[in-house]
Amino acid sequence: MEFLKERGPYPDLRVNIGSLVLQNPVMTASGTFGYAREFEPLVNLHRLGAVIVKGISLAPRQGNPPQRIVETACGMLNAIGLQNVGVERFISEKMPYLRGLDVPVIVNILGDTVEEYRQLTERLVGVDGIAAIEVNISCPNVKKGGVAFGADPKMARAVTEAVKTAADVPVMVKLSPNVSDITILARAVEDGGADSVSLINTLIGMAIDLRRRKPVLANVIGGLSGPAIKPVALRMVYQVAGSVSIPVIGIGGIDSAEDALEFILAGASAVQIGTANFINPRVSEEVVEGIAAYVREHDLQSIRELIGALEA
């Protein structure tokens, strides 16, 4: 016979990502939340911990030809091909809206060479309203024959150093899961000066159209995201949280507060929600509410008590 607990004061959900303080640990993942404005009719954007925008490159990119996405079992593949408006238009067209929001804005960047990452970062220096930079290192290094930066500790470190040296805001490096040992990559970018690591980006996958006997995606391969990859993401977050001392941000298949809390238990200081935004545009806000309810119901002082609190 429990008696109803009064709905107490709003619980303390603040988390620190290095020097960056977020009001709660829920961010929207790059490439899945547009430039935030798309979600304005449906989400109270100011309720989020942070918004991460679609990956930006130096020059605008058209991206891949259609078909770019395909549904898979509990997941989806995408080969958008990094379509984006380029850094100049991003600053002039997208930042004015974004900086008007009462939520930290994190800019996701990508390049084909270390030099491009450096230039991009330099261009973002001094731009008002940017809370942090997230570095997508899952991109192929054109100078190294297309091997992804994220698959080689030396290149990953070099990119991190280049961005960190140029940046005037905290730098979060986003790791690729398509590697033998992600802790090696995590330590490499930590050594390179990253303020935090976020993981995972998509797993590389493929789908085939049996009728046409062709790959479904024009790009042949694409990135797998959604609930299907959650077990892999959770494992990697757990491993990385045990190997680095900078904050870890968990990403991969999160679509509920329970999922987010699992990542936090595994060692994530915060989480990002990706594909789930497509299925339930309100999911990010609902996850914030769900975490608040959990903290309240379990009489926690703060959500920070749960970070890495897994008994293993």
Partner: protein
């Protein structure tokens, strides 16, 4: 355009043919904001498989807060929707996209093939409501056989248009394609053609319009994840090079802005 995510109660379930179903939903916010050619994203089931929402054109949206979708069972998502019961709730969001640009002066010719008929009923209604003289307007509906066309004829008739039907097997209307009918019709100069249907049909409609110097709007499909411009997954080739995105630049396009493989 304002968008809304609603838990919409199913208030009517109509099996119009073996494969084709029409659902009437209570979605007042969406109904109020909707225009012909807009679509909604609907979640099939509550599970994680199928993962993505499914896009459906608005077949009707009325001032009493109801919307209708009309769809064919082609896979798992539509099969799950076809197993819903009256009274259940569906998670729907919309209205989305750019709809038909109704030219209030020009004579209208609506051409719908198969499930492409879906958005045209709403369009016919709005055109009718625009109040001008409609005796020159024309609706052409086609499908594989009677079941794709006949059940909808009454609904179109109430808007008082002249109506022509064709089926592949001749089981209703004349035997042949909607484009055969379109070709045979003497459309007045300045007529605007509003079409929806499978790609090969739209390509032919476009060709006919180009030949006759008529302007033509088509509603097209693509695979979609978000339906709202966030995933960038729904691109199609643009006539001027580069890409257009079906969910925000369309689904209704001027036919000449697209690339047609024919």
């Amino acid at each position: 355009m304002s968008q809304h995510q609603e838990k919409a109660r199913i208030i009517r379930f109509e099996q119009l043919s073996a494969d084709n179903v029409r659902l009437t939903l209570e979605a007042p916010l969406i109904a109020a904001a909707a225009a012909p050619g807009h679509f909604v994203m609907i979640r099939a089931g509550n599970g994680q498989d199928p993962l993505l929402r499914r896009p459906f054109s608005l077949h009707q949206a009325s001032s009493n807060g109801q919307i209708q979708i009309y769809f064919r069972i082609v896979g798992r998502g539509t099969d799950m929707l076809a197993h819903c019961r009256v009274g259940e709730l569906l998670d729907v969001f919309g209205p989305l996209g750019r709809g038909y640009r109704i030219d209030r002066q020009a004579p209208a010719c609506l051409v719908g093939g198969g499930l492409g008929i879906a958005p045209l009923l709403f369009l016919a209604k709005r055109i009718c409501q625009s109040g001008r003289d409609h005796h020159r307007d024309l609706v052409i509906l086609g499908g594989r056989s009677s079941g794709d066309v006949e059940p909808l004829v009454e609904d179109f008739r109430q808007f008082g248009r002249s109506l022509q039907c064709a089926t592949d097997d001749g089981s209703f209307g004349r035997q042949g394609l909607v484009t055969d009918v379109l070709k045979a019709e003497q459309l007045e100069p300045g007529t605007v053609v509003y079409a929806c249907g499978p790609e090969p049909m739209l390509a032919r409609v476009h060709r006919i319009c180009v030949d006759r110097g008529l302007s033509c709007q088509v509603s097209i499909e693509s695979v979609m994840a978000c339906g709202m411009g966030a995933c960038l997954g729904c691109n199609v080739d643009a006539a001027g090079g580069g890409y257009l995105h079906v969910c925000i630049d369309g689904p209704v396009f001027n036919a000449e802005d697209l690339v047609w493989n024919s």
